[in-house]
């Protein structure tokens, strides 16, 4: 190969002027085709597990396992909450997710406002500590939370899961809301105060409406983080079951098909929230664009 190299370029170069454009076009077509196949494979790879989950929610399975296709049925969809433990786990998960989202969004938004709008001692440190939960491994966070609860003598259960979820969600809320706030003209809030609105009134009448899209995005994110968290939850759950904990436990003894049904529902719920979020953001972007055009 090494010896052939010097002559090879000459061979390639000679016919190039005539065949060049066509070859380029052919090459382009092949490349495009390959790219298409490759992308399709990649997407299939990504969605295959989800497709399996959805398809097997319609499987008329026999026995404890749901790994073999036995025929189409809607019976699991008719009774999605047939397994009382599963229903309870999902209820816990949803309740925790809603509560954690509400608290984390509120606290995170206020924290973001404080970090962006006010200069105070320890602001840099606060900024760093907000970032810390995002950077540290979940295992470490889960273990350290458990250690803390044990030292404080707090029994693990629903309450500790909730506290843990609020804690790690806040970071994401702060980061999301902060970016929105940083893009906002601070003079708008000054104008509000100038026109007779106090700090609180300014927050609710001007700041909050303006950062609302960021707050909404943050809430969706917090909800999604909470509802599927396994690692941190498993450390701090005590006897309480959440949906991810239940499924993980169930896979060892046989998975009831209701898991597929509820997972599909959950997926649809999260997808729905994301679609709403995207639509809202798009509407706002259009509004911004119009403003720039004008």
């Amino acid at each position: 190969m090494a010896t052939a190299l010097p002559t090879e370029p000459a061979d390639v170069v000679a016919p190039a002027p005539a065949a060049g454009p066509r070859r380029d076009r052919e090459q382009g077509r092949t490349r495009k085709w390959l790219l298409g196949v490759w992308s399709t494979l990649a997407i299939l790879f990504l969605v295959a597990p989800i497709l399996f989950m959805i398809v097997f929610s319609f499987n008329d399975n026999q026995g404890r396992f749901n790994f073999e296709w036995k025929g189409f049925t809607l019976k699991h969809w008719a009774h999605p909450f047939a397994d009382p433990d599963l229903a309870k786990a999902l209820e816990n998960s949803l309740l925790i997710a809603v509560l954690a989202t509400a608290v984390a969004t509120m606290m995170g938004t206020l924290l973001a406002v404080a970090l962006v709008r006010h200069r105070f001692r320890g602001r840099g440190a606060a900024d760093f500590f907000v970032f810390l939960p995002m950077a540290s491994p979940e295992v470490v966070m889960g273990a350290s939370l458990l250690a803390m609860f044990l030292v404080l003598g707090i029994g693990t259960g629903f309450g500790t899961i909730l506290v843990a979820h609020i804690m790690f969600s806040i970071s994401y809320v702060v980061v999301t809301v902060k970016s929105r706030l940083e893009g906002m003209d601070p003079h708008v809030e000054e104008a509000s105060r100038d026109l007779g609105a106090g700090e609180v009134s300014t927050f609710f009448r001007v700041t909050l409406p303006m950062i609302a899209p960021g707050v909404a995005a943050a809430a969706v994110l917090a909800f999604a983080l909470s509802i599927d968290d396994y690692i941190v939850t498993s450390f701090n759950a005590g006897q309480t079951q959440t949906f991810p904990l239940f499924i993980f436990g169930a896979t060892r003894q046989g998975v009831p098909p209701q898991v597929n049904v509820l997972s599909t529902m959950l997926l649809l719920l999260v997808l729905g929230l994301m679609v709403v979020n995207v639509l809202v953001q798009r509407a706002l972007a259009r509004r911004d664009f119009k403003r720039r055009e004008a």
Binding site: V188, E190, D194, G196
Partner: protein, 388 residues
């Protein structure tokens, strides 16, 4: 100011005197850490004035405005509005409103709601609010856009909404932070006229921050030229232009020829004193203009007040005359501009009106000329101790 008799029977006669001082800053300092932004600034703005704070960027003019508005607290000193100390009051408790450079309209509210914002906060009756908003939108000619959102307005329209939003509250004073800075030149001139008109119609105090000297001169009754966190000189446009008191003012408003001179200790006559330039040529100036200067002084003259004469022509009696050589001669249509250098290295700018109409009457580079101007047009500023 008329003196009020001690035993006046009408206290009302005293009151206007107090109220005339609408905005008053006394020995205000502002520091951010080690950085001194404002160092000992005092100013008094009388009721109904159009007052401009003029200066280059970073001179502290916006900080001064923000301290009046309550957005910055002075490190020391007091701010009073209508005779009341408001130094520690937050913006929403001050009887002034601000028009921000970025307009800072509320993007989520309609034009109408933007303008109503202040009245709603003050719990003004609904009907009254509606009426005043409509009236104000009429004044700024934006009634047809009442239902629009700020995102759908042009720059000039947004600026007028910001103005309406502030004025509808009938503030004691309106603070304007470079409100025309973001607009193109033509629109700016148009809005300058409108602003001036509105100020005259409603008669409240306007404090206008700008770096555009022409804008300040065309609109303001009083201009305070700021530099390095202090007011260099405050007065009418004419005062500042014809009788600048510092080198900075002399060159920030228009351009000036500044000449370092050594003053002679005895005046020439009752009116004039004399100093000598580096070329040992005498320059006369009105004695009272040098009052208060003990050290070295600089005399100055505006380029358009100076005339050039050929060596065989004689300038009018009583003119200051310097000798030099034309270094550069530029034809600008309306005017002819010359740069003249004296043997001692003084450089003088001369702007002559284009009266001749052909190059025969002009001076070319290298030509020996006399530079002359009416001695009464000479102003005096403090010289720099370093002599630079």
């Amino acid at each position: 100011m008329t003196t009020v008799p001690e035993s006046t029977e009408t206290p009302a006669a005293v009151r206007p005197e107090v109220e005339e001082r609408d905005i008053c800053l006394e020995h205000v300092h502002k520091r951010y850490g080690d950085q001194v932004v404002i160092g000992d600034l005092s100013l008094v703005i009388e009721q109904g004035r159009f007052y401009a704070l003029l200066g280059p960027s970073g001179c502290g003019k916006t900080t001064t405005l923000r301290m009046i508005g309550g957005f910055e607290l002075p490190t020391s000193g007091t701010v009073s509005l209508a005779g009341h100390d408001v130094t520690q009051l937050p913006p929403h408790k001050r009887e002034v409103n601000t028009v921000f450079q970025s307009y800072a309209l509320f993007p989520h509210l309609t034009v109408e709601k933007n303008v109503a914002f202040g009245l709603e906060r003050k719990k003004v009756d609904k009907h009254e609010t509606k009426r005043r908003v409509a009236e104000m939108l009429e004044t700024v000619q934006l009634s047809h856009l009442a239902k629009r959102k700020p995102g759908q307005l042009s720059g000039g329209q947004a600026q007028r909404v910001a103005l309406a939003r502030a004025l509808v509250n009938k503030p004691r004073a309106l603070l304007l932070d470079e409100p025309l800075g973001a607009l193109d030149l033509r629109l700016r001139r148009q809005l300058q006229d409108q602003l001036k008109q509105i100020q005259q119609d409603i008669g409240i105090t306007f404090v206008h921050v700008t770096h555009d000297q022409e804008e300040a001169m065309s609109m303001a009754d009083t201009i305070a030229v700021m530099n390095g966190g202090a007011i260099e000189q405050a007065g009418s446009a004419e005062d500042l232009y014809e009788r600048p008191e510092t080198s900075f003012v002399a060159n920030f408003l228009g351009t000036s020829n500044l000449i370092d001179v050594t003053p002679e200790s005895t005046p020439v006559d009752q009116e004039f004193s004399r100093g000598t330039t580096v070329d040992r040529e005498p320059v006369r100036y009105l004695t009272h203009r040098a009052d208060g200067y003990s050290g070295p002084i600089r005399v100055g003259v505006r380029p358009e007040k100076v005339r050039l004469y050929a060596t065989d022509q004689s300038p009018p009696d009583g003119d200051n005359v310097l000798h030099g050589k034309v270094v550069q001669s530029t034809f600008l249509g309306v005017t002819l501009q010359y740069l003249v250098r004296t043997p001692g290295g003084l450089e003088l700018n001369v702007i002559e009106p284009n009266l001749v109409g052909n190059s025969a009457g002009t001076f070319g580079a290298g030509q020996d000329v006399r530079v002359a101007w009416d001695a009464r047009q000479t102003f005096v500023v403090e010289g720099e101790a370093t002599g630079a």
